[in-house]
């Protein structure tokens, strides 16, 4: 007997579960998850732009927390949906090409190419997103943010093309009984005794998506913390808030704890104020309940106290309606120097925080002083402040 290794032919897949009826029902929810990820991803990308044609709003303060939490939760829930969707259409991978008919060959080839792009970009988005949410960066050359953003457009474009191609089949199977066979492959005729019905498979898939979401969403939904046994974070941390980047990783341990630390306020290129920690403590203190909401999808509500940015700018003689360049003690990194848009600078909830939960900031939370503003991505809530610059 000889063994021959060859790709299977579609005829060898005889299960009735691998059908358009299952693919369309799972695919509909997969499309909803991808659409949600796309829209919330655009919001997150826009919120991080240094120059925004329309300013990102400061209210509601939990807006970014909601959209980015949704982004990561729907992306995670899409993993079971994508795996079952691809399983249900696997026989199509092995279909032959109509080599004799040039027109059909071109059309089939184009459709296959669009499917290849869709599958590859969908797997890419979920894999890179999932890794990033766990702060795992197994790539070395490409930039996660730029690439995840660009491929999102590729994936959504390929998805829209796929829906356009398949629309008659989708409409047909979604409006028919799930067990209707008119759209099945001719060879998909076997019901293995004891195996699930189509309806049960679809329900199991939705349950798997729900379980996956619940098992991980506790990083951003506090009341799910006990259920979310696979969440990247328990939500614990100094002052009840987790840490993304430690002082050691940012290499600020020495500069942030130095007695010489000053917060410089620079107006039109000249230093208008140079404030010590005690100077900041001596100014009127205010408290705000604001979330830290990270791009990685975790978030936590904190009670922050410190000096209002508007008060500080006014005392330094700077106008309140200008963008503020915010610099950290960090010596490198893309977020060392960022721009706080004018509407955030003018919001009375925006603080130069000295305390979290009634205690001085932990070094890893940005001691001596950090920025905290409403409705802002966590990476832009600059820690270990060293300088604020305003141009009139």
């Amino acid at each position: 007997m000889t063994m021959r290794l060859a790709p299977p032919s579609p005829d060898q897949f005889t299960s009735r579960l691998r059908s358009p009826a299952v693919a369309a029902r799972v695919g509909l929810w997969l499309g909803i998850c991808f659409g949600t990820c796309f829209v919330t991803g655009l919001i997150s990308h826009y919120a991080q732009l240094p120059d925004q044609p329309i300013p990102f709003p400061t209210s509601p303060s939990w807006g970014y927390r909601l959209t980015q939490g949704l982004h990561v939760v729907t992306g995670t829930a899409a993993i079971p949906l994508l795996l079952v969707k691809l399983w249900s259409v696997l026989p199509k991978l092995f279909e032959g090409l109509p080599l004799r008919d040039v027109r059909a060959l071109v059309l089939t080839g184009l459709e296959r190419a669009s499917i290849a792009v869709l599958v590859a970009s969908a797997i890419f988005q979920l894999a890179t997103g999932l890794a990033n949410a766990a702060q795992w960066y197994p790539w070395s050359a490409f930039s996660f943010r730029t690439t995840h953003y660009a491929i999102a457009w590729v994936a959504i474009g390929a998805l829209v093309v796929h829906v356009a191609v398949k629309l008659p089949v989708i409409r047909d199977v979604l409006t028919s009984d799930i067990d209707a066979t008119s759209r099945d492959r001719a060879t998909a005729a076997t019901d293995t005794p004891g195996v699930l019905s189509r309806r049960a498979l679809v329900r199991t898939t939705f349950a798997a998506a729900a379980v996956t979401a619940l098992a991980t969403a506790g990083s951003t939904v506090p009341w799910l913390r006990r259920v979310s046994v696979f969440a990247v974070r328990t939500g614990e941390g100094p002052g009840g808030v987790p840490i993304n980047k430690s002082a050691r990783a940012a290499r600020v341990e020495e500069s942030a704890t130095s007695a010489d630390w000053r917060l410089e306020v620079v107006v039109d290129g000249s230093t208008a104020a140079s404030l010590s920690y005690d100077d900041l403590r001596a100014m009127p203190q205010h408290t705000a309940d604001l979330p830290i909401a990270c791009v990685e999808g975790w978030s936590a509500q904190g009670t922050w106290s410190g000096v209002r940015l508007v008060d500080l700018l006014a005392s330094a003689g700077a106008p309140a309606d200008r963008d503020v360049a915010v610099t950290s003690l960090q010596e490198s990194g893309p977020y060392r120097r960022t721009t706080l848009p004018a509407n955030f600078a003018a919001d009375p909830r925006t603080l130069l925080a000295l305390d979290l939960s009634g205690e001085p900031l932990a070094l890893d939370h940005g001691y001596p002083c950090r920025l905290i503003a409403p409705d802002r991505p966590g990476v832009l809530q600059t820690k270990w402040l060293s300088r604020l610059e305003v141009s009139t």
Binding site: A134, W136, A152, W153, A209, T212, I243
Partner: protein, 143 residues
């Protein structure tokens, strides 16, 4: 021949999708350099192979074995368990490997993921066994 409204709508939808996808490709090509394109291409290829060959091949093997060795009353519980347990396992690879853990950050990856996964796997096996035995007995009584 004039296309029907439905066909025209599909063509328009397809054209929109094509433009959106091309925009994404242009973003990638203009904002990353060739070394970065190459790494993205490798990730595309590895992702598709990991699914289409490794995972799908594994699953076909598991289903063949299940079809041969599992009595019919055991198959539905085993399939449900495989879908939920298997997809959850894929989705938890980054926390199970703890690849992003850092010695200087105790608030990251701060749960006993591997122990939880083993416990979950044990519970799933027990549930399938209980469901299989109950269904076997029931079909035996009915048969």
């Amino acid at each position: 021949m004039k296309p029907t409204p439905r066909k025209a709508m599909r063509l328009a939808l397809g054209a929109v999708g094509l433009l959106v996808g091309i925009y994404g490709a242009v973003l990638l090509l203009t904002r990353q350099d060739p070394r970065q394109w190459l790494e993205v291409a490798i990730w595309f290829g590895v992702g598709v192979l990991a699914h289409d060959v490794v995972l799908s091949g594994l699953l076909i093997g598991v289903c063949l074995l299940g079809g041969r060795f599992l009595p019919p009353p055991w198959r539905a519980p085993a399939t449900i368990a495989l879908v939920v347990w298997g997809t959850l396992t894929v989705a938890t690879v980054p926390v199970l490997t703890r690849a992003g853990a850092r010695a200087d950050n105790a608030t990251l990856l701060d749960r006993p993921y591997a122990a939880t996964w083993w416990a979950m796997t044990g519970i799933v096996v027990v549930l399938v066994a209980v469901a299989g035995l109950v269904r076997s007995r029931r079909s035996h009584e009915e048969g």
